[in-house]
Amino acid sequence: MNDQSMVVNDNKGFWKKNSHNVPGRPSPKKSVFSSSSQSNANSSFQAYQASISDAWVIDDDEFCSPNVNISKKVAQSAALNVINNHKTKQFETSSSSRNSKVNESESSKIAKFNALLNLNLLNLEELRSLAWSGIPNQVRPDAWRLLAGYLPTSSERRQQVLERKRTEYWVFVKQYYDTDRDETYQDIYRQIHIDIPRMSPLMMLFQQKLVQEMFERILFIWAIRHPASGYVQGINDLVTPFFVVFLQEFLPVGTDLEQLDLSTLPKEQRDIIEADSFCCLSKFLDGIQDNYIFAQLGIQQKVNQLKDLIQRIDTNLHNHLLKHGVDYLQFSFRWMNNLLTREVPLRCSIRLWDTYLAESDDFAAFQLYVCAAFLLHWRQKLLRERDFQGLMLMLQNLPTSNWSDHDIGVLVAEAYRLKVAFADAPNHLSGSKTKR
């Protein structure tokens, strides 16, 4: 209640300041940028250059294929896309008449994605704003590869980059994993080896040796290539969404993961799943490496920020936690360390990843607001708890087992609202700091 009135009081300033933004859309900075670049698109070469700059700076590519003439291949692929779009649309609408309305919007979303993904030169900003509110399963793997910056925006170069990156990964494996490891590497390996079997103990898929070995290699190579942090418990959980999404790419729609025997998949496909999971994980973790360095300073800082934020947004809840001796670190450390993967079901983590990946470089900052929104979501229940024990036990085990994509949609929308209201105007609610 407190927070609502605050926001209402400030609505004018809020809307004036961020006139381009609507809650539920990606970060304000980006939208401002894209809208300004749109309006100047015809006049400003700089804006144009900026909008396509990522086509050239992607990674360590030494050469870019000249892309002037429309090749036969491109024309063909464009035609194929159109056909495919129609196909998927038809399939979607004909397959289910019951939820036709839902499916219609879903299929039109898929069509939008396909149209974007198949452009010769992808507009990453557009993809981000489309992906932010959730990506349909069918197009998720490619969308994630692009959002993570693993795939280049130029569609012609994608296959070539994919092949090179995948090969690169297997060279790492050969170099570091398949050889004798020295003592420091051995420690890393030991920790990973302890953690993998107990990662998702209730899912049979993750009990398969083949799957566990894939995770081991991914994590080991990542740790070796990031010596400042190395492997930290919990990073294993961050591989899972990537793994599952890239796995599903090779499975018929609706395959039950619980029943899947991974050895039935051809080795080439398994290798792709593994290499792509590694590459996307690497890009993904780049933005939050300070979470995992010595003393985990990134997390400690964010925990403090969360505390300050809640104090400003919801004094009642903050004081309630304080009064009963609940320290933010005690419950939110895991939220930050594992990006909420331990708090919500896997399917929800995947949906959450859509938004995280769409946030791109800003996702580290955004995650703070997701945590804040998550905490505030439970405020009524928490306020009813009367002691430390009750609060802690609840916070450690929040009832999200029946959460769906919808709940995550609401969560990130709320997080976005908080971010706009608080991050961009750190002092405009300073009045609320005065305690009652």
Binding site: R198, P201, G234, A295, Q296, Q300, G325, G390
Partner: protein, 224 residues
């Protein structure tokens, strides 16, 4: 400190420490909920659980903090040693390395915990007889030399889990009931009351540990 639904005479904070994968979380779940998971998820940071037991017709409430075993978490977890009156230092009898690291864990406690903390050395997974790598005698001798109590447990088949917690809580209780001067909370000299305030009354933010360089961390006086 107002409302508490369950009444108790003493509240003791106990920490579970030791290497990754030795079974700390399962000892805790066995003791507090009588549950065991063959593959329980790794603990991230710290986790909390509680249970009350009776000693001498007194209700003793144990507030137990389970900590992550990986070294990287040390800065976070050591903050939880503060105010703890007991520690279960756990190793895996089938993994010698986890026993070798016991010394390092003792050092951790010496650096971060109350000097009067009661420490129990716990050799877990005693059901793995055929894989035993640490002789019970050796651990027992080590414990005696370092003034620790010692017990072997199996969270899997429940052996000694109850006893382990019962023993350490009783030991703490004996010390507290002997040393404590209930009427005067102020004390002098080298006798320190070991009883902790109910955790609900202390708002503690870990700051005095390894990360003084952190901005925004409220400085709190240590609890001496």
């Amino acid at each position: 400190m107002g409302t508490r639904e369950d009444e108790y005479d003493y509240l003791f904070k106990v920490v579970l420490i030791g290497d990754s994968g030795v079974g700390k979380s399962n000892l805790l779940s066995r003791f507090t909920r009588n549950e065991f998971n063959l593959e329980s998820k790794s603990t991230i940071g710290v986790e909390f659980a509680t249970r009350s037991i009776q000693v001498d017709q007194k209700t003793i409430k144990a507030q137990i903090w389970d900590t992550a075993g990986q070294e990287r978490y040390r800065a976070i977890t050591s903050a939880y040693y503060r105010g703890a009156v007991g520690a279960l230092l756990v190793y895996d009898i089938a993994k010698h390395l986890t026993y070798e690291n016991v010394e390092r864990w003792l050092r951790e406690l010496r650096d971060h915990a109350d000097q009067n903390i009661v420490i129990m050395l716990v050799g877990n997974k005693s059901d793995l007889r055929h894989l035993r790598a640490v002789p019970a005698d050796e651990a027992k001798t080590f414990a005696e030399r370092n003034n620790l109590s010692f017990i072997e447990t199996s969270a899997l088949d429940s052996t000694n889990v109850e006893t382990a917690f019962q023993n350490i809580l009783t030991e703490i209780y004996r010390i507290v009931s002997m040393k404590q001067v209930p009427e005067s909370p102020d004390y002098e000299g080298d006798v320190r009351p070991i009883r902790v305030e109910p955790t609900t009354s202390t708002s503690s933010f870990p700051s005095e540990t390894a990360h003084d360089n952190l901005a925004n961390v409220k400085k709190l006086c240590c609890n001496s």
